[in-house]
């Protein structure tokens, strides 16, 4: 995925109603591109069985009490 440009980040921020100074825009663009580069490889991991929950899931005993 190519890096986001400052113009693209500015458009995203504007659409989201987020105020940004010109200096913010430069740095946020670097940070966002770092995120996208670091996270993209996760898509290749075998995550099908990884439930997107933040904790260890303890089975809840649904159904009639025994």
């Amino acid at each position: 995925m190519p890096d986001l440009t400052q113009a693209e980040v500015a458009a995203m921020a504007s659409a989201a109603g987020l105020p940004m100074t010109p200096d913010d825009l430069v740095e946020v663009t670097h940070r966002l591109n770092a995120f996208l580069e670091a996270l993209a490889p996760l898509a290749a991991l075998p995550l099908d069985a990884a439930e997107p929950v933040p904790f260890n899931v303890v089975p809840i005993p649904f159904g009639p009490a025994s």
Binding site: A16, L18, E27, R31, A34, L47, P54
Partner: protein, 479 residues
């Protein structure tokens, strides 16, 4: 200030509690000692936001009277401590290190504050932190906390004041908050012991949130014993935090005895041998592994391939939660944030939801890998971070490009965030010094709710080494 005063100030919470109980030192004497040290040193260290001078002296007088009357005493009776200014204190302002909340005065105590008081501890004050407990503040609104080992260096984030105050003996111990390393990193950089408890062991009620699914209060102390006593005081179920566990809280201090004989410890290959780990850190942790083997543990190398990605996964998960919390203020009061915090929140606000969801799933997969390793090993051993404390100039420098951003934000957090992502306990313990005289630190991770095992192994290592006995060179501090 006499040598005896210095020695007493550096004794730490556990020993001071014994001395108060045995009438070797009075709580009033202790509070005056620490207030005097704060007056002399904190103008440079900037570890405190609010010092509760009169309240602490009044509490000390009451504590002293209780000792003299022979009343039953709590485990921290008469011991002066500090808490990160992220925890609510009734009638005492709680700023969370921000301009936005600079005048906020809560009406109730956080549960950890109530429990410290119930254990007899005396609240000296509220400690400085990076803004809203996010790391990366460029201009801290309440002054730049400095590392007592070298004032040009960062004391760590986000519990920066808790690290600096405890290391400089401006209190007997502290409670910080560790979302992804914010207790362990200041402990590591300041030559202290810092413990991130199992998620759900300590109440979050009254702790200003960064990330509800990973925030966890934890103690910083001069020794593992100090941390064990502090943890015992704050741990346990709280009806006001429905995600705390109802498990009984063991006596962590009593559980320190017993050593490591027979424990199986996995040495995390990705962090010990990884390219980001500086050679002196690698050597110190490998040497620590030998010490633990010498004490009877079985140490083997173990690999968790996802670990290097943990920093980015953590930031995607935690910052998304933080961004949601701050969205209103970011839109309406952007200039009231430090630029570092604002840019971090803006970035997280713009990260595509699909990537955040991908990170959440990767978090679950990483948690599974960490818990699988802890199925084979009792503990996992790694450096707490890839290097010793950076300079403040390095920590606050502008982000130059994408690679710089990745190095600044993901690399360090890769080491400390796996415990947070997996919800397991982890303790940071001093394990050496680098050539510049800055502390090095190892961390031990354990199974959920086996905090006692983590602390027991840390105690065994600590008692077999001398690193925790060194004191920072405070004589060089002039106001």
């Amino acid at each position: 200030m006499t040598t005896r005063d210095d020695d007493v100030a550096f004794m730490g919470a556990a020993k001071l509690a014994e001395m108060v109980r045995d009438k070797q030192v009075s709580p009033v004497e202790l509070v005056r000692l620490y207030l005097d040290r704060i007056d002399r040193l904190d103008g440079r260290l900037r570890a405190w936001i609010t010092v509760c001078r009169e309240q602490a002296l009044e509490a000390a007088r009451r504590a002293e009277a209780a000792v003299m009357r022979g009343e039953p005493l709590g485990r921290l009776h008469g011991v002066p401590v500090g808490v990160k200014d992220q925890f609510d204190t009734a009638g005492v302002r709680t700023t969370v290190g921000s301009k936005i909340l600079a005048d906020r005065v809560p009406t109730e105590d956080a549960t950890i504050v109530t429990r410290l008081a119930r254990a007899g501890a005396i609240l000296l004050g509220k400690q400085n932190l990076t803004e809203f407990a996010f790391g990366g503040t460029i201009r801290p609104p309440f002054g730049q906390p400095r590392n007592p080992w070298n004032l040009d260096h960062d004391p760590g984030m986000s519990s920066s004041g808790s690290g600096a105050a405890t290391a400089a003996a401006l209190c007997a111990g502290s409670i910080g908050e560790d979302t992804g390393g914010s207790v362990r990193i200041p402990a590591a950089w300041c030559g202290l012991v810092g413990h991130r408890p199992t998620w759900g062991l300590v109440s979050r009620k009254g702790s200003f949130p960064l990330c509800w699914s990973m925030d966890q209060a934890g103690p910083l102390g001069r020794s593992v014993e100090d941390v064990a006593v502090l943890l015992g005081a704050i741990a346990g179920y709280d009806a006001a935090d429905p995600l705390t566990s109802r498990r009984p809280v063991p006596d962590y201090r009593a559980a320190l005895a017993g050593g490591v004989r027979g424990l199986r410890i996995g040495l995390l290959r990705e962090f010990v041998s990884g390219a980001d780990t500086v050679p002196q850190m690698r050597s110190a942790v490998v040497e620590a592994a030998r010490v633990l083997e010498g004490l009877g543990a079985v140490v083997e190398e173990v690999s968790i391939p996802m670990l290097p990605q943990a920093g980015a996964i953590f930031m995607a998960c935690a910052d998304a939660e933080g961004a949601a919390l701050h969205l209103g203020w970011v839109r309406t009061r952007p200039a009231d944030y430090d630029q570092g915090t604002r840019r971090r929140l803006l970035t997280a606000s713009l990260l595509p939801a699909a990537y955040q969801q991908l990170a959440t799933r990767a978090r679950a997969a990483l948690r599974r890998e960490v818990l699988a390793a802890l199925g084979t090993y009792d503990l996992l051993l790694a450096p707490t971070g890839h290097r010793a404390a950076p300079t403040i100039a390095e920590s606050t420098s502008a982000v130059k490009n994408r690679e710089d951003a990745a190095g600044k934000f993901f690399t360090r957090r890769a080491y400390s965030s796996p415990a947070a992502l997996a919800g397991v306990p982890a303790v940071a313990v001093p394990c050496g010094f680098d050539p510049a005289g800055l502390p090095l630190s190892l961390q031990l991770l354990g199974r959920p709710f086996e905090d006692a095992t983590v602390l027991r192994a840390a105690h065994a290592y600590e008692q077999a080494t001398e690193w925790h006995r060194r004191r920072p060179p405070l004589g060089s501090i002039t106001l």
